[in-house]
Amino acid sequence: MNDKPAPLTDFDLLAYADGQLDAARHSEVERLLAENPVQAETVGEWRQQDEALAALFGPASEEVVPGRLQPRNIVRAGAAARNRVLQFAAAATVLVGVGIGAGWMARGLTEPSGRSGVTLVSEAVTAHSIYSVEVVHPVEVRADQEAHLATWLSRRLDRPLTIPDLRAKDFDLVGGRLLPAETGPAAQFMYEDKAGHRVTLYVVPRSGNSETALLYSQLDRLEAFYWTDKGISCAIVGDLPRDRLKALAVASYDQLG
């Protein structure tokens, strides 16, 4: 069909259309195309594709760049995040110290082979730190499906769980989620007051019928009350005045089971 000395291959056409040929080959291809309307038509269609793509998406590159996509803001945000991690690590050391102290003081009340209060509280505090700041997906199941949430988590924790109602203490249920704890599944319920303060109640199943008193740990601005009762260990975590958090802990303790 085309017995010219330098026939046009598909790669020639592509490279020509995309401006990837050297000047000599470019003008050679141009000359050959003039004699080959079918291939010229193909190249013309490709040009139209380029134009259509530019028309569709070109405006995206002319929009004002939002702050979150400005490299300097990202550098600043990264530095702030690293500082938070360092602060958290420092504070966690304090927590472990307090937790061990509390555990030692409460050793008469805890079962000897059970999970330690340190693990319980550190898991609860970590889960609280991660999810209580979440705006879009703070919970897996929202409070409008409370019955489903209770059934689901009761099944996963293999315990009948009653989700505490803390409205008398001005906290509404946001919802809950299933989490991996050191020993298996854990449940987290989140509550929020009108001012946007969030507290989370962290629940892990526990074998045996041991009970503990209400114990207390503090981590920087986060406080935790924790206890074991009727086959579950619980920790309630939040950034609240101690008395207020304690009232929530007592209300939860009373209703769980």
């Binding site: 592509l14 990837q20 038509e41 134009e51 530019a54 070109g58 995206a60 996509l69 490299p71 550098v75």
Partner: protein, 169 residues
């Protein structure tokens, strides 16, 4: 660091345009660009000057995009409303131009490897060497993908059959 950030900043509009075309979704595209910039800044020690910064950034963005696709996020879904609204009033004056909404739909139907390659070259104007670097494939593979992408786009927009003869200018 300052020069590095300046160079990245200059490339953000291009990354946004590419991400928009890949995902067909403004918010997902900007999330993708943000993830890309965060990773690039965190891993800036891994960048080697012999690789163009633009190709390196596109490579990072594509890796994140593919990982997200595997997790079923950011998948292009048809033609979103915002693209349909882009139809310019000037179109009737240019009967040979491709219908934009039709092109957007066709683009979304391309296999992912073809769409990634076509957009780098046709939309972002990367040369073959740079695009092949960004995609981490040999140049011959890139050209095969480009050829298939262009043919498929032509087929999907109903332009391949029958070939109409007309002058191209």
């Amino acid at each position: 660091m300052t020069a590095f950030l300046d160079e990245i900043e200059a490339l953000v509009p291009s990354l946004r345009r590419y991400a928009r075309a890949l995902t067909n979704n403004t918010d997902l595209a900007d999330d993708l660009v943000q993830d890309c910039l965060e990773r690039a800044i965190r891993k800036r020690g891994l960048w080697r000057p012999q690789m163009p910064l633009r190709a390196w950034l596109f490579r990072i963005l594509l890796n994140i995009y593919r990982n997200d696709l595997r997790r079923q996020r950011r998948r292009p879904e048809g033609t979103p409303f915002e693209l349909l609204a882009v139809q310019p009033a000037a179109q009737p004056d240019q009967p040979h131009r491709l219908d934009l909404a039709e092109t957007a739909r066709a683009l979304a139907q391309l296999p992912n490897d073809q769409r990634e390659a076509l957009l780098l070259v046709a939309l972002e104007g990367l040369g073959y060497a740079e695009a092949a670097t960004a995609l981490d494939i040999p140049q011959g593979t890139l050209m095969s993908r480009l050829g298939r992408a262009r043919a498929e786009l032509r087929r999907l927009t109903g332009r391949s059959q029958p070939p109409r003869l007309r002058t191209v200018k």
